[in-house]
């Protein structure tokens, strides 16, 4: 049994977002900080925000990104997806929720 990690975006409606040719600047009123996000990181935020319960399992996020990037799910891609989630978590833009362990059988 493995516990599934869910992620949700923190206070997305409060963010000020500007799109540029090379990425996005995001102002986070809660912290007063400005962040620069690449398109993949912004896609994660938007995907989480539009999810039915405002949260998604990590593997669903990964699958979503894989579909977008037409990746074959290589270890390098998985590592990049994990790094993106870790970075967004560190910036306080998303937060993890650990759900009840799923039943394997």
């Amino acid at each position: 049994m493995a516990s599934q990690v869910y992620w949700r975006v923190t206070n997305f409606p409060s963010l000020l977002i500007e799109e540029w040719e090379d990425g996005f600047t995001v102002f986070q009123p809660d912290s007063g900080k400005t962040h620069f996000l690449n398109p993949v990181a912004m896609r994660v935020l938007q995907t989480l925000h539009s999810a039915p319960d405002g949260m998604l399992a990590e593997d669903v996020i990964g699958a979503n990104l894989m579909a977008l990037s037409e990746s074959d799910g290589s270890p390098a891609f998985e590592s990049e997806a994990e790094a993106t989630l870790a970075q967004l978590d560190e910036l306080g833009l998303i937060e993890p929720l650990t759900a009840e362990p799923a039943c394997d059988s």
């Binding site: 540029w20 040719e21 102002f27 400005t34």
Partner: protein
Amino acid sequence: MIVSGFSLQEVKALLAGPGLRVSLGPVNVRIQTRLQELARQIFILYAKHELAEDDIAEIHVRVIARRFIRKPFSAAVECLLDGQSVLPAVPVVQALDLLERCIKLAFVTRINYFLVFRAASLERNGHVLLLPGQQRSGKTTLSVALIRQGYRLLSDEFGILDLGSGQFVPMPTALSLSEDSIQALGQFSPGADIGQATGDAGFGNAKYLRPPEESVRRAGETASARWTVFPALSALGEAPDERFQLEPITEGSMFLMLATHSYDYETLGAEGFRAVSQLVRSCRGYSLAYSDLESAVIALNDLTDAD
């Protein structure tokens, strides 16, 4: 009425008494001092500035002589901002430099209705050229070289963005030139009298240069930015076409670099974010590596003439 409408003796009396109230563009400053040499320097450097018309001065500075118990025979001075000492005391020969630093410190820490960049700002063909750079990065030297090419100086140290109008506001103050700057300008424009109408900064051969009369007279004329150029002195090739590199920068980079070069971006919060966003959308950004003043001026003339 401008400061030179008074005699030196009248200015000294004002400085020693109720204070000389000068308009520096976006702010009024009230200066008080009994130091005779400093009064003379103020009279020269601020000769063309308008006297503040109303009674309100946002910045009130007073330069006073100071004696220390440990060094009773060395003359030192202190600058009080609204009665509080905010910078370390310095030898009396550096009184002018202390006064200038105190006024600028007050501006960036107390005035909160502008987004202020660490940048020289100049106007050419009706639009502002913003040159962000850290302290002692050569902004003033480059500004003086550009002034000689006909650019109008808004400020050699600040890019002052009015949050309401989105326009850049002039604040022509005395220009501080280091010994190296004076040497570089001498090579750029041999025979130019760098020392004209200046006050000694009090260290080495550093000087304070009076801002151009036209800049002071037009201190009420704002303008919108069209070019943001991040200049950097670099060791480049000797050939004429290798002496500078002017490269466009991406919008995202420009945003982050502008925010980094602002004194109060974080303090202004969402307002600062919106202002920088608008600025990035309204002007083009470049990095400029240059090996000497002449090549920098050529690059900037080409850029500002092209559009």
